[in-house]
């Protein structure tokens, strides 16, 4: 057994859930353990468990407190043992086109100033990243990607900006995200994408799965306008 594997910490969350924590950082190996626990707990079919929600470094396990309790569920989770980091071979790779430019990249200049790079260097760094879908959260279809290169990692803005439209390509620290609906955000908006992470009305409104990978590709303004005009999903 890999010596680096440690027993996850299990803590109650209210009276109907518990958190299985594997660490406290954005790290692909920690996340692989989260996903392994997700599938192991799902396969174990623990009585009374109603929901499994993976995030960066922890798995939330929701249960019906009238059917079971914290002691029973945490014992069943512990019995599954430490989670190995599964080889990540199954994740699909998605190409997500991004247009950077006038009116589409409101924070690009500021990110360049704060990182000491040129705008073009910021764009190239963003395009060079290898992104992993760690979790959905915050709002429907908000796919939290990790893997922003170090040279363009910035802390969030101190105050959120309201009414950021869908399709905004944003970064904050090691995280990246493409918005799906109008929401406030404190992240840095560096481009716009016609790619839809949320597709209401389709059989599968969430085409990307946690564990999938994303590569951003550069899109010209003409192609972007055309894609938006055609109601692109890509």
């Amino acid at each position: 057994m890999n010596q680096s594997l440690i027993e996850p910490a299990i803590q109650p969350v209210g009276d109907s859930g518990l958190m299985v924590r594997f660490g406290a950082a954005v790290d692909p190996d920690i996340h692989a353990q989260v996903l392994e626990a997700d599938s192991a707990i799902s396969a174990a079919g623990i009585e009374g468990v109603t929901e499994l929600i993976p995030s960066f470094a922890a798995l939330f396990v929701g249960y019906d407190p009238l059917q079971t309790d914290f002691e029973t569920v945490s014992a069943a989770v512990r019995a599954l043992g430490p989670m190995k980091s599964k080889e990540r071979t199954s994740g699909q790779i998605w190409q997500v086109p991004v247009c950077y430019g006038d009116g589409l990249s409101p924070d690009l200049a500021e990110v360049a100033v704060r990182t000491g790079l040129s705008e073009e260097e910021v764009i190239n760094a963003h395009l060079s990243g290898d992104y992993l879908l760690y979790m959905y959260g915050f709002a429907p279809g908000y796919a939290y990607l990790g893997g922003v290169p170090k040279e363009i990692q910035l802390p969030r803005k101190t105050a959120p900006v309201r009414d950021i439209p869908a399709g905004a390509v944003m970064i904050a620290g090691p995280q990246a995200l493409v918005t799906t609906i109008k929401m406030p955000t404190g992240w840095w908006i560096i481009g716009q994408s016609p790619f839809q992470f949320l597709r209401p009305g389709e059989d599968n409104p969430f085409p990307l799965a946690v564990g999938d990978r994303v590569q951003f590709t550069r899109m010209s303004r003409d192609d972007f306008e055309r894609a938006v005009g055609q109601g692109a999903k890509t």
């Binding site: 969350v13 009276d15 929901e51 709002a139 279809g141 409104p205």
Partner: protein, 323 residues
């Protein structure tokens, strides 16, 4: 069509018991804020407990019935009239085709539930008719009801007028309202004084109180133990590496004012949660108006489970009495 909306009130939406199972994709469970009131309302009119009804916030709607039905109103105290005639709350009554259901000004509570025999039969989205406007799911085309909307009703054969729930079995918030809290994941990040202050202080419901969450103000600001932020987390001491939130979780952005996440809350984000309101008390939050006084009471897991069973037993008792 069976119900014609003459006036929607302030914010009236179609709600059932929600759509569990999509939280990992960022879709909250949603559904009635006061699930107890909707369940009991449905029992009174002979519906399945998860049938869709109307959740009216602060003000009632005005509805013209195009078909005779049995109706009940539970939850907030919003005096009820049928063609001007006063009706009892928590009691089933008949509204005949052509009559109009309307309401007077709110006396107490925040949300009234209108259950109608047969249930509202608008199309379900992801297994529920509950309105979730942010995701444009459920309700009437993904939104709250508007004037001139016409809502279809299902068929019902077992509803009768005059069924009533004894006042001792109706639930509502006291004054000050008391919400039981299980300290949780990041409780240790608060200083001892801040932790004690959270339970000692009297809080009031802020204006930012809706289906996503209830904000509370007036207590001491919550101070944090110094520590180094983990890689990937935001810079504010209340930031964590983004994780999952659960219903009832209490988050404190900036450490100033606690927010209890409710039915339409987002499923995750980068603020830490200091604990959770126990599931048995979540319905009470749905009945709190802004400016209401609130005290948080510390409980342990055994206390939370006992409260949960007490709630289950009360529902069973009402179910037996009404069947």
């Amino acid at each position: 069509m069976s119900l014609k909306i003459v006036n929607p009130g302030l914010s009236t939406s179609i709600q059932d018991l929600g759509r569990p199972g999509y939280f990992h994709l960022g879709i909250p469970m949603g559904g009635a804020m006061d699930r107890f009131a909707l369940r009991v309302g449905n029992m009174l009119v002979g519906n399945p407990e998860d049938a869709a009804g109307l959740e009216a916030v602060f003000m009632g709607p005005e509805i013209e019935f195009q078909k005779t039905a049995i109706v009940s109103v539970t939850g907030a105290d919003l005096p009820i009239r049928v063609d001007g005639q006063l009706q009892e709350a928590w009691t089933s009554f008949e509204v005949r085709a052509g009559q109009t259901l309307s309401f007077e000004f709110l006396k107490s509570g925040a949300r009234a539930y209108i259950a109608i025999s047969g249930g509202i039969q608008t199309p379900a989205a992801l297994g529920s008719r509950s309105t979730y406007p942010i995701g444009a799911l459920g309700g009437v085309n993904g939104r709250a009801i508007q004037a001139l909307d016409e809502l279809p009703l299902g068929y019902s054969s077992n509803a009768i007028a005059g069924k009533s729930v004894a006042p001792s079995m109706r639930r509502g918030p006291g004054s000050p309202a008391r919400l039981r809290v299980l300290p949780g994941l990041y409780w240790h990040r608060l200083t001892e004084a801040a932790g004690n202050g959270f339970f000692e202080d009297e809080w009031t419901v802020a204006l930012e109180a809706d289906r996503m969450g209830y904000r509370f103000k007036g207590g001491r600001s919550l101070e944090f133990v110094d520590r180094e932020q983990p890689f990937g987390a935001g810079a504010d001491p209340s930031n964590i590496v983004d994780g999952c939130y659960s219903y009832g979780s209490i988050q404190v952005p900036g450490g100033a004012e606690p927010i209890v996440l409710h039915r339409d809350a987002v499923s995750g984000g980068g603020y830490f949660t200091l604990g959770a309101v126990i599931s048995a008390d979540m319905d009470l939050i749905g009945q709190l108006q802004p400016h209401t006084s609130v005290k948080f009471d510390r409980v342990d897991m055994a206390g939370a489970m006992a409260a949960r069973h007490e709630r289950k037993n009360l529902l069973m008792k009402i179910r037996e009495e009404l069947s």
